[in-house]
Each structure stands twice: as structure tokens, then as C-alpha cells.
Symmetry: C2
Subunit: 426 residues, 2 copies
């Protein structure tokens, strides 16, 4: 009843200051497609709206079936660029259309969050990063996925314990201001905490005054040493991190506590981290939350899911600024003799470009996943490898140049042919 | 074992261009608190991390119990301002701390999204707005909640059918570009759609060329008239909406289709809507998505959840730029003789200010909800009433002045006393 269609998911423009995006969200899409169905409650609701005829509702109930399509995708953790399909779905058109919202939703926001997190990792050089974003992400789904995106990007841990459990990410906790406020004095709070976690204590310094907090921390740090332990760190959570970190470092060093790490948190993202480290601020770890968890400077992309092939025929859309290219596609990544990324060629799905690495891989066939679920650490490694091969200027935090993506001769010809034969072409 | 604590949820600074926020998210918080518990799986996971002693894990398992606290809150749909607690929780400190992340997460992002949506409604004057955001919100939780936030703000409908079902919001559908691309020509696609939904057809004009699309729409509109129906609308989804809407209006009017609505969608938020309507663009409905669903220009606030009272004693935090005020509080809203909002007074929880309306209401006692779940339409009405009473300059889209919020004499005195007695005060 419904002919086969291919839809392609891609961005048309880079969000501000972005020169690449990181593929993320595919696992959730595949899980969703495997579980795709209409519940009786859902069908009853659709009927109650009065918008649909009995024939169509019967079709949804009896004939739509589980998702029976095929999916090709750029694996999670790999880089993709403008106009490159990060995913293509081929299925009866009604199935391919019904899954559109979820597919865009998950891959768009997870790719944005992973990209933002990867920029933080780059800015932080060898410093350790932890995800503190759960309080300010947009909802609980985003909080869980942010932890996963951060880990893919290279974060060491997450403060979201459910995400840590679900995804196998190291959990990390922090001392709260309210813990300190609940004691008669700061140093009593510090001592109580150090007593509970003598080998993993990070003291939060700014509940009253950061410098005074550092003196208290130094005192508790020496007490821990006397009992055979070591203070793990102190955390700055407000104020001028550059100046405060230097003063706190001096206080700790003067107390013989040179091994105590300084952690900074509070409104940080890649821009502040880069500035602090370039200025030489002695900060060892960063906790990043709010700005990263909402991809503050780029909370959305124009990621679109467009019909490119229908009933064996390539199709395209010509809308102003929103044109799409026809047919299923493949992305070939070419490298330099030194193994660095040189440029990408966007080609037709059936092309074979010798020397180019084909990025889209079959991940689902006839509604069934191909291969086993990838391990999160492998996705993380993949991203590290891709970034190591992408020239640094494409990774600049401000106004990176465009990585070259060109069209294959075959795709160029196809686009010209399709445009020519389109009855509504101007 | 754990003393009673009161935590207060508030923003310290307005996000850019905001002069008020709308309370939203409380229903989800109350549902969460009612269901609060540790599962055996969760406890097993915590044990497996090796971070916690047996005593504590036993405590969580046997003694923590369900949430047994009390909640006072500014009801959903009401306006709140800087430093005003939108919610206060009083509970054994461990319970109040454990729920922090969820409480901030839900109320922060839902208040931001509802505020953004309310700004769109104001900019759109009497035009109809529909929520199209699900594809670009940050995750599925945000997609569902955005539909609800939009409806509270005054949107007419949502394209998220699950949200429509769950919250009782009118669903609205749209024609997709892929529907049109799957036909040999645009006009055939238009005719097929009009055949299925003769009284509710909105034709999407920009798949190939908007003006040509308008000619096709006019033709199909006349055919619908001939068969006793009326074309409901046409939709612009790209290009220069001001110029295109005028040209399309003219084409429709010339065809005797003056009743056909023009809908615009694609990257719109309150700023573009205001500009288009001020310029006189003949647009009747707006579909808003991406920018509203992520609160593009203000994707986060500094909403914080701070301990203000512990074991019968008011406490406060003095951190640079992040100070908090001590004790449980009440917000009193004073009005002018004409019934407009005049100013707010932030007071201690036990104060009574004659002539002021107390905004925080008890909504949960000993872990049980007080009163019945409010109807979404009542929340929507409440917001409409509040906005009608807030002077227009506080609702300006750019750089609104600050609505006056002052402290009661009693709260001022309390803050001075607490600061004085704090052992760590500088």
C-alpha cells in the first residue's frame, strides 16, 4: 500500500562557531525503531480526535506492523559535516514518516551536546572534566543523555548517578553548600566530610568566603595527613577563578599540600576554560554543567530529515535556503599521506570511491539491528581518533574555517537531472 | 537522625531580556515526590560503587522512607521575579537534598519554556500559535513538557500527539514536504490531501517555489469551493515571510479566497513575530518550534535550591554573587487601586502583610498532596490574568525594566542578624 522511501538526516548550516559535529544518538534511535508500534490506547486516542477515518485506523492497527526498514548511519562518535547524511532510513513511506520526530529529536540534541562537550575537552587540554549538568538540562531525558554525551567526548565522570548506572560511567559526587550550611561552622563541616570519605574528600570553599575556606581546607588537609590520608581536592564554585585559583594554590602549597587538586565549577564552558588555562590559572579539574548541558551558544541546529528517494525515484526539495540533494548517499572521507583528514566527498549511495573511507554503515536491516550494541568506551575512543586526525584549525573555538566537502560527479549529475525533470521546478 | 531543613528555589538574575518568569513544572515535582523511593536495583548499584558504607546503605533501605516533607509553592501559571522563592521544601535534610536535582531540573526548564512561549503569545497579539517544537527540543521529556508549557502560555495546539493525549491539548497536524515530494507534481499532492481532509486542509507552499505553490493552492481552493468545502489555510515555511505573505495574500484574495488563513513557520520566535506583525505582514497563524522549544536566547537560568533553615535556625550563604537570604519566606504581591501589580515584598514565611496577596501556597503536607490536581485550563487562565495585570513595560521583549521587589523589614533584620552570628562571616 505504501511505496518505499529513503529519508536523509543532515544539517544544512553549522551552528555558531562550529566546524564539525559529532554523531550521537543513534543507539536511542535504533532502540526506538525496534520497539515501534501503536498501542491500543494510542489508537483509541487517535479515533477520539475524529480526525481519522476507520480505514486508516484499521490500517494502523492491522497492517502497519513493526518497523521493517533499513538504516545506514555514521557511527556514534564520528565527526560529520554540513550536508552529510548522519543517518538514512529506507522503509515504507508511512513508517519512515512516523518516526521522523523522534529521529531528529534524539540525534540533533545529542550531537549538539556531544560536540559542545568535545570542545570543552579540547579547551581543557589534559585537565579532567566531570559532568555536573543534570540540574539545568531541559528535562530528565536530556540529563541522562548529557552524561553519556559527555563521556563520549572524554569527560571522566558524571554526577548523575542513574546515568552512571545505566551507561556504566564513573559516578562522581560533590559536597553541597547545604551540607556546609547545616553545620555551625565551615571547618566542622569539612572535618565531618573528611571523616566520612578520608581518601576522596573535595572541599567546597565558597559557602562564606573562598580564601577563608582555603585556610580551613589546609587545616583539614594537614589533619588528614596526620591520620594517614590525603585531601583529594578543593572546589571553587564562584568568583574570579583565575585570581582565586592562584591564591588557593599558594595557600595549599605553603601548607605542604601541593598534591591537592583544585577543581573549578560554575557557569563554565569551553570559552571560559580556554581563557583560564591560557592565562595560566592553576586549575586541575573542571566541573561543567549548565552551559554545556544546554549547548548554550548553540542550543539548536537546522538538522532536517528529508525525503530523497521515493518509489525507486530520486527526489529533492528546492525551498529557498532549504534545498536538499536527491537520492540515498554515501560519505567518503579522504586522508592525507600522513593519515589526517583531507576532505570529504558526498556521493551517491551506490558509488565506490577508491581511497575514500565510506562513513555510513548498515546498522539495521528489515527492522533488525545488525551487529551488537557498541560499547560506550569504543565510541569514546572513535571520537578521540577522529579528532586527532582533524586539523586543529577546524577545531578552533571561534570561527573555524569550513572543512572541505564536495559532491561527486555522479551526485552532481543526478541533482541536475532531477531538477530538470521536476514538473514544478521554476 | 536527620534534622529538618527548609530549601528555597529561586533565580538570582533574569535571563537576557526577561522581566518576569512564569512558574511551571510544579505538577511534575509533586508527582516525583509522591513516588520518591530507592529501588533495590538502585541500592545494589550504590553498593557496587564501593563509595558508601553498609550503615548508610541500610539507612537508605530501611529508614529513609517515602518523602515525608511539606511543600509550599507559587502555583503554575503565576508570574515570579528575581529572588522570590517559586517553591520551598521542608523535610529531613537528607530527603530535601536527594530531590534537589529533579526539582531544579523540572522547574527551571519548564519555567523558561513557558516564559518564552508567553512572550511569543504577547508578540502575536490575537494571532493563533501552535507548538511545532518536538523535533528540536532537548529530548523527549522536553518535547512533552514544551507542549504543556506552550498551552499554559496560550498556544492553541501542539503537533506532539502524545502530549496532546497526555495533557488534553488540541492536537494539530501539518502537511510534510515529504508528502508533496512523494507525488509526481505539487498540485497532485495538494489535491490528494484536500481529498482526505476537505474541511481542514492547510497546504504547504514552499517545497519547490512558494509563489507557484500559492497559485496551485488557489486552484485547489477553488476546486474545494466547487465541492462545497473551504480551504483552511496555506503555510509558508521558508524565505522572506513579510514579502511572501503579502504576495500570497494577494493571490488568494484575487481568487476569491479571502477566508483562507496564512500560516508561517520555520525559525520563528517572539522577536521575528513582533517584527513581522509590526511591518503589517498578513499572517494569521504562527507555528513555532525550534527557537521556542530550546528557549534559544535564554536556554538556562541560574535557578538555585538553597538551604535557608536547618534544625530550627535560619541559615544563609555568602558566596560572591551567589548570596542567599535566610529562613522560609513568603512573597506578597501588592496591587494598585486599579488592580494592577504594583510591587512585591519578599517577607519571612510567618509574616502577614495586610493588602498583599500571599503567593506561596501549601501544596504538600507530610508527603501528601493538598487539594486536587489543577486543570491545565485553569493554569492557562491564571497566567492570562497575571499578564493582564502586569504593566506592559515589564513585558517588553528587549531590556524590560525591573519589577520592584523589596524586602520586608523583618526579613532585612533577620538577614543582618544571621550574617552577624555566622562564625565564618568575613
Amino acid at each position: 500500500m505504501f511505496a518505499e522511501a529513503t529519508f536523509s538526516l543532515f544539517i544544512r548550516q553549522y551552528p555558531p562557531n562550529r566546524g564539525f559535529l559529532v554523531s550521537a544518538g543513534l543507539e536511542d534511535v535504533l532502540e526506538y525503531l525496534e520497539a515501534f508500534h501503536f498501542s491500543q490506547t494510542g489508537l483509541d486516542y487517535l479515533r477520539s480526535t475524529g480526525n481519522f477515518g476507520d480505514d486508516f485506523l484499521q490500517y494502523l492497527k492491522n497492517d502497519l506492523g513493526p518497523f521493517a526498514g533499513s538504516v545506514r548511519a555514521i557511527p556514534e562518535g564520528r565527526l560529520f559535516f554540513v550536508n552529510e547524511p548522519v543517518l538514512e532510513i529506507t522503509a515504507p513511506i508511512i513508517q519512515a514518516q512516523l518516526v521522523e520526530t523522534f529521529v531528529i529529536n534524539q540525534i540533533n540534541f545529542q550531537s549538539l551536546l556531544t560536540t559542545k562537550a568535545a570542545r570543552c575537552v579540547a579547551a581543557a587540554r589534559d585537565r579532567v572534566l566531570a559532568d555536573f549538568a543534570s540540574r539545568r538540562t531541559h528535562g530528565t531525558d536530556a540529563a541522562l543523555k548529557m552524561a553519556r554525551c559527555g563521556y563520549i567526548a572524554g569527560f571522566q565522570s558524571t554526577s548523575n548517578v542513574l546515568a552512571a548506572q545505566r551507561y556504566g560511567i564513573p559516578p562522581s559526587g560533590t559536597m553541597a553548600h547545604s551540607f556546609i550550611s547545616s553545620f555551625p561552622s565551615e571547618i566542622e563541616a569539612f572535618r565531618a566530610y573528611a571523616g566520612s570519605f578520608p581518601d576522596r574528600t573535595v572541599l567546597l570553599l565558597d559557602t562564606y568566603d573562598t580564601i577563608q575556606g582555603a585556610w580551613h581546607a589546609a587545616e583539614v588537609g594537614r589533619e588528614l595527613e596526620d591520620s594517614g590520608h590525603r585531601l583529594a581536592g578543593v572546589r571553587l564554585d564562584s568568583g574570579d577563578f583565575d585570581s582565586l585559583s592562584r591564591q588557593v594554590r599558594q595557600i595549599l602549597d605553603d601548607a605542604g599540600l601541593g598534591y591537592v587538586n583544585i577543581i573549578a565549577s560554575g557557569g563554565l564552558d569551553e570559552y571560559q576554560i580556554q581563557d583560564l588555562l591560557r592565562a595560566g590559572a592553576p586549575i586541575d579539574h573542571f566541573g561543567v554543567g549548565t552551559r554545556v548541558g544546554v549547548s548554550d551558544d548553540a542550543p539548536w541546529s537546522d538538522m532536517a530529515y528529508k525525503l530523497v528517494r521515493y518509489d525507486q525515484m530520486p527526489v529533492m526539495k528546492l525551498s529557498t535556503d532549504k534545498a536538499s540533494l536527491p537520492g540515498g548517499k554515501q560519505v567518503f572521507r579522504l586522508q592525507t599521506p600522513e593519515g589526517r583528514f583531507d576532505r570529504d566527498i558526498l556521493a551517491c549511495a551506490d558509488e565506490n570511491l577508491p581511497g575514500g573511507e565510506a562513513l555510513l554503515e548498515p546498522v539495521m536491516q528489515d527492522g533488525r539491528r545488525l551487529g551488537s550494541r557498541p560499547h560506550l568506551d569504543d565510541i569514546r575512543t572513535r571520537l578521540g581518533q577522529d579528532l586527532a586526525r582533524l586539523d586543529g584549525h577546524y577545531q578552533r573555538l571561534y570561527n573555524p574555517p569550513r572543512y572541505p566537502v564536495t559532491l561527486s560527479a555522479q551526485l552532481e549529475r543526478l541533482a541536475a537531472q532531477v531538477q530538470e525533470r521536476m514538473p514544478d521546478a521554476p
